[in-house]
């Protein structure tokens, strides 16, 4: 049993990294644009789709698919921002309208993929090979997903803390008005944040596709988990998104040994309700 738990912890880490990356993008968009992006899960799915098509149909090496997925999904993010976010965000009740508009954009993306490729999963060839660490066997793909995810989060932190764009992004997150007062191009910063979040989601999709296979519904399930992570980890908190994402992946993975995958997922939603009851602003909030 101990070996099985260790194995599931190792597996949970790679899935948790995916949740962390998804939540990172969601929380960024919420923190800077103050909106909930319901199309976010579909950016993750599109990342997996680009990887699946390029590897299985065009024979492109897996590692070359990662930048391709990021760039192509950045374009999808740009289009979503232009068509579903910018035109409505400034209106009265803009945040609510954006919620519906991004939900619609997500449905359009998903239904288009379903209509074109069908619901059948597509196997994605990632990095081959298995590493044995005592009782735990890990594929190189899972190790790569964990390491690449850590690297991505580290790069993200460097961008936020050390670059001019990062400072501007944090400024807009803290005060839209003060950012305008000092002459920052707030709309541009918001658009770039939206696109950057789409890129991170695409990379998460590209990392997980060889592990779980691609299917058109993969974004829906993961986005819901992403929302759970963001709410538990406090809306707008990047450390909260990363830590809760990893925690959720580990918890779900280990719990599935004892109570099955579906019940494990249900327990996570129960955890969400408990958090909302006792820490409505999330566990990383300064106020209860």
């Amino acid at each position: 049993m101990g070996d099985l738990v260790l194995q599931q912890l190792a597996n949970g880490l790679s899935v948790g990294m995916t949740y962390a990356l998804i939540a990172l993008g969601l929380t960024m968009v919420f923190g800077v644009l103050h909106i909930v992006n319901f199309a976010h899960g579909e950016f993750y799915m599109l990342g997996g789709l680009v990887t699946a098509l390029l590897t299985s149909r065009a024979g492109v090496p897996y590692l070359a698919c990662l930048p391709a997925a990021a760039i192509l999904v950045a374009a999808a993010g740009w289009a979503t921002d232009r068509l579903a976010v910018r035109p409505v965000i400034g209106r009265p009740d803009g945040a609510t309208i954006v919620l519906v508009a991004t939900f619609a954009a997500g449905l359009i993306i998903n239904e288009t993929v379903l209509a074109t490729l069908g619901p059948a999963p597509i196997r994605v060839d990632g990095i081959a090979g298995v590493v044995k660490l005592g009782p735990v066997s890990l594929t190189w793909q899972r190790i790569f997903a964990i390491v690449f995810g850590i690297l991505l989060i580290a790069i993200f932190q460097i961008i936020l803390r050390r670059t001019e764009f990062g400072r501007q992004l944090r400024a807009v997150a803290q005060s839209d008005y003060a950012s305008r007062v000092i002459g920052l191009d707030v709309e541009r910063i918001k658009s770039l944040t939206f696109i950057l979040a789409a890129c991170v989601a695409a990379l998460a999709g590209a990392l997980i596709a060889p592990i779980l296979s691609f299917n058109a519904g993969m974004g829906y399930h993961t986005a819901i988990h992403g929302f759970v992570v963001v709410v538990i980890g406090t809306m707008g908190s990047i450390p909260g998104a990363v830590i809760c994402g990893l925690g959720l992946g580990l918890l779900e993975s280990v719990a599935s040994i004892f109570i099955g995958q579906e019940i494990a997922s249900a327990c996570i939603y129960a955890l969400l309700i408990v958090t909302l009851l006792f820490r409505p602003n999330g566990v990383f909030s300064r106020s209860a």
Partner: protein, 239 residues
């Protein structure tokens, strides 16, 4: 330097400022005096392009009335807003850095040094989060952040609001210092005593209308201004 022509601001059907004409020259301090809701802040916000305004606005003879806030800042206009609006979770240095626009970037280190000399309290608190500073320190940071863009004209919106008298005196000294540097200052203040004491020219606003303008010293002697804003008894009360 800065000239506004028939500047009007409305919030929906409610007029906040009606056809205001004023100008501020280099090294001149102009005070906008009036009660809460007189249209002072609306005037400054419209000049910065933060709220839509009608009418003309010229900076150094160049029409900037259609320019974005970003372009106005690049052109040499800066605002220290009412309520300070510093970035609370960022350090003092980061706040100053954000105020340094591309035009001023080559002089970034000199500008930071200038601000820390001008506001010694900020030097002591360089790494501290702006949100943890006192009200007076936040006000200094807001003004310092505006000055980091090397403005030709600085708009100060209620810089003494809620501050202790000793800090109010420091702000008045700072405004005198800005005048000596040749910066044009447009000061919107409810504290008329301070504003009229430091300004060269004053404009009195009432419900969005300019009701009096002239040399600040003369305006300060006007009986209606004295009774309305300086706490002096009105002529009727004196009689």
């Amino acid at each position: 330097m800065l000239k506004c022509i028939d500047l009007s601001v409305s919030y929906g059907p409610v007029p906040a400022l009606a056809r205001l004409n004023l100008s501020v020259a280099a090294g001149e301090v102009v005070a906008l005096v009036g009660a809460n809701g007189a249209g002072k802040s609306s005037c400054l916000k419209a000049m910065m392009g933060l709220v839509p305004g009608k009418g003309g606005l010229e900076l150094d003879g160049k029409d900037i009335s259609a320019a974005t806030t970003r372009s106005r800042v690049e052109a040499g206009l800066a605002l220290s807003p009412e309520g300070r609006h510093v970035f609370p979770e960022m350090s003092v240095m980061e706040n100053l850095e954000l105020g340094c626009i591309p035009r001023a970037r080559a002089r970034y280190h000199d500008l930071v040094e200038e601000m820390l000399t001008l506001f010694p309290r900020l030097r002591e608190r360089q790494k501290q989060a702006a949100g943890s500073l006192s009200g007076g320190e936040q006000q200094m940071l807001a003004i310092g952040r505006a000055l980091m863009s090397e403005p030709k004209v600085i708009l100060l919106d209620e810089p003494t609001l809620g501050l202790a008298p000793i800090i109010v005196d420091q702000i008045a000294d700072l405004i005198n210092d800005l005048r000596e540097r040749g910066i044009a200052v447009l000061l919107a203040e409810q504290n008329a005593e301070m504003a009229l004491g430091v300004a060269d020219t004053a404009c009195v606003l009432e419900t969005g209308m300019l009701v009096k303008t002239g040399a600040a010293r003369e305006i300060a002697q006007d009986s209606s201004v004295r009774s309305a804003y300086l706490g002096a008894p009105s002529e009727e009360e004196s009689a």
